[in-house]
């Protein structure tokens, strides 16, 4: 079949280097992939067209690009499924500088992976032979260890889009791979030093839970789910002194005691009741809400049967469930 593609191109050696769009038609098999079409363009139409690829089997992680606006592996995506009004739109992966056409510079990606020290750091006494970890303790890591470093999650991360200092989904998922490894950290497998680092600004609490990374990941790593699990680890390890931790605790307390969200008290509890600077900063927003009739109820009433909700909290959060 003939596939029409609209491809974003960039030539750094052009007189005036700017991204531009070019339309191509590629003849591929009916069940061909987006990568088949891109390779066809390079081989049959324009030898200067640049892209990265290697295994063609979603193993190497080289061919992540944006297909119709969302990152994914070109080799894992059937072309016929991606036609929108008869055309597939291809752009380079996002949040990384473009070198040429679909080839992007991964330096920022790798810097962040290295920042989380992606190797085991056991703190207890060294065992006589190898570190032993049971199957049960490791099986839950099988998805997160299957990351192929393709950069799809990094490309579509909404926080990286506005803040390049954010550690990002790939590095945070990689960090979780160690914080959740029983061999890492102290004798109980608690990676307190790591969690302390990851608890800092630009770390786990800066994720906005948009799920772009979960959607983009071709390997079921589900980075955001790992970040959420890591937040629980941080709370369990006693790291409560961040706005993120306070926000989660205040939210949970509100639901536990009334059954629903007390929005009015959530903000001061999140930024800290003694954080006068932050509270004063929110004053204009509060006044604006009052004058526009948008103030949440001052008296936060409990839902009917809210005692049943409290009982569920007691049961599910009880020691036998942890």
């Amino acid at each position: 079949m003939d596939v029409k593609l609209r491809v974003q191109r960039f030539d750094p050696e052009a007189a005036d280097p700017k991204p531009y769009w070019e339309d191509f038609t590629a003849a591929i098999e009916d069940n061909g992939t987006v990568l088949d079409a891109l390779i066809k363009i390079r081989e049959d139409t324009d030898g200067t067209f640049s892209l990265r690829c290697s295994c063609r089997s979603s193993i190497c992680g080289s061919c992540a690009v944006r297909i119709n606006g969302h990152a994914g592996l070109a080799c894992k995506t059937q072309a016929k499924d991606m036609l929108v009004d008869g055309v597939i739109t291809i752009e380079p992966a996002g949040n990384m500088p473009v070198i040429k056409d679909l080839v992007v510079n991964f330096d920022g990606f790798w810097d962040k992976i290295m920042q989380v020290e992606p190797y085991l750091k056991p703190e207890g006494p060294e065992p006589e032979a190898e570190y032993i970890a049971s199957n049960e303790a490791m099986l839950h890591l099988s998805d997160v260890t299957s990351c192929i470093m393709c950069g799809s999650c990094f490309s579509d991360c909404t926080v990286l889009e506005v803040d390049p200092s954010f550690l990002g989904p790939a590095a945070l998922a990689k960090a979780y791979r160690f914080t959740a490894d029983p061999r890492d950290g102290d004798e109980n497998g608690v990676s307190k030093d790591r969690l302390e680092e990851l608890n800092k600004p630009s770390g786990m609490w800066d994720c906005t839970r948009c799920m772009e990374c979960v959607q983009a990941c071709p390997k079921s790593v589900a980075p955001m789910d790992r970040i959420m699990a890591m937040r629980d680890q941080a709370l369990q390890a006693g790291f409560h002194n961040t706005n993120g931790a306070r926000h989660t605790e205040a939210f949970s307390d509100s639901v536990e005691h009334s059954g629903w969200l007390d929005e009015l008290r959530l903000v001061p509890k999140s930024v800290g009741m003694t954080n006068i600077t932050a509270l004063v900063g929110y004053a204009p927003i509060a006044i604006q809400a009052i004058t526009h009739g948008k103030m949440p109820p001052i008296i936060h009433k409990k839902l009917p049967q809210s005692k049943n909700i409290r009982k569920i909290f007691d049961k599910v959060e009880g020691p036998e469930q942890r």
Binding site: G69, C210, Q215, H247, S252, I285, K294, K311, F313
Partner: protein, 295 residues
């Protein structure tokens, strides 16, 4: 057409204009809403980061209540929709559901796995039908350019939201915009994050997201943005002046809750739709469609 109504916390808190607007348009559409006053907050993804099992149990409790009423669930909050869909997806696992049900037993509830929570946006397309909606449009928003803003929870992850079975969910908001007579302003940010979840955690990043999306839509000529998510609305409307100050440019893009835009097209008054409760003034767009400004 009757549903168990799950309005969520924000439509009764920080966005009190949404609840009455949604109720009014549902009445016009012949949608009967049965309240579930004892149903709890979904956890909004926040509770889940502390304890996913706890969040799933609270949602299973709501699902069991709807099953007891023998009614499908209708929500007007995208975040509630997403969190309920994700919980329901996990609760397909029989072993997990049995465990969750042990926590509900004392209250005499059991979730059997039949709940199908649906946002009003999906109900309009899948249950009511666009023809029915069109038949109630008495004041088409002709000439009005509306930018759809889905946010995150009603578009991702597609597996839990059952997009494969319901491909029409991908552009449901655009279909609504067209049905009420307005023009769609398509823009890249429509399915990105509004920044609300990190508002108190990293305000600078949160405001950067608000500024980016509202500026992009404004620069493409949008008269307003329309969203099915009250949390997105809170950030995009209430915090837009702050985001504009951070971005160093004026924005001034009114943000409409989806039911408000539909209500206007049905001829309901701007006051009834709560349009005076917006931080970014809705007057210019009301003048444009000849609805007069909210008093």
């Amino acid at each position: 057409m009757k549903y168990a109504f799950f309005p969520g916390c924000v439509s009764r808190g920080g966005c009190p204009e949404l609840y009455p607007a949604a109720k009014l348009i549902c009445e016009k559409l012949g949608i009967e809403l049965q309240e579930m006053p004892a149903a709890s907050c979904t956890g909004a993804g926040v509770l889940q980061e502390k304890n996913e099992l706890l969040g799933d149990t609270l949602n299973a409790r709501t699902f069991a209540m709807a099953e007891a009423l023998d009614l499908p669930i209708l929500t007007i909050c995208s975040t509630c929709q997403g969190v309920m869909s994700q919980a329901n997806h996990r609760l397909k696992n029989l072993e997990y559901r049995a465990k969750v049900n042990t926590f509900l037993a004392e209250e005499g509830l059991e979730y059997k796995g039949n709940a199908r929570p649906k946002h009003l946006l999906w109900v309009l397309i899948e249950d009511v039908g666009l023809d029915k909606l069109l038949s109630l449009v008495t004041r088409p928003l002709a000439g009005m350019r509306l930018a759809p803003f889905y946010g995150c929870y009603i578009v991702r992850p597609t597996e839990a939201l059952e997009f494969e079975d319901h491909p029409e969910r991908q552009d449901a908001l655009e279909k609504i915009i067209e049905t009420i007579g307005a023009t769609v302003v398509d823009f890249a940010g429509k399915t990105r994050c509004c920044g609300f979840p990190i508002l108190t955690i990293n305000e600078r990043n949160s405001m950067a997201m608000v500024g980016k999306h509202t500026s992009e839509a404004k620069d493409l000529g949008a008269d307003a943005m329309i969203t099915p998510c009250p949390l997105c609305h809170l950030n995009l409307d209430s915090f837009q002046p702050k985001a504009a100050a951070q971005a160093g440019r004026p924005i001034g893009l009114p943000i409409l809750h989806m039911p408000q835009a539909i209500g206007l097209a049905m001829g309901l008054s701007p006051d009834a739709m709560g349009l005076k409760r917006h931080i970014v003034s809705t007057k210019p767009l009301l003048t444009k469609i000849g609805a007069g400004a909210a008093s």
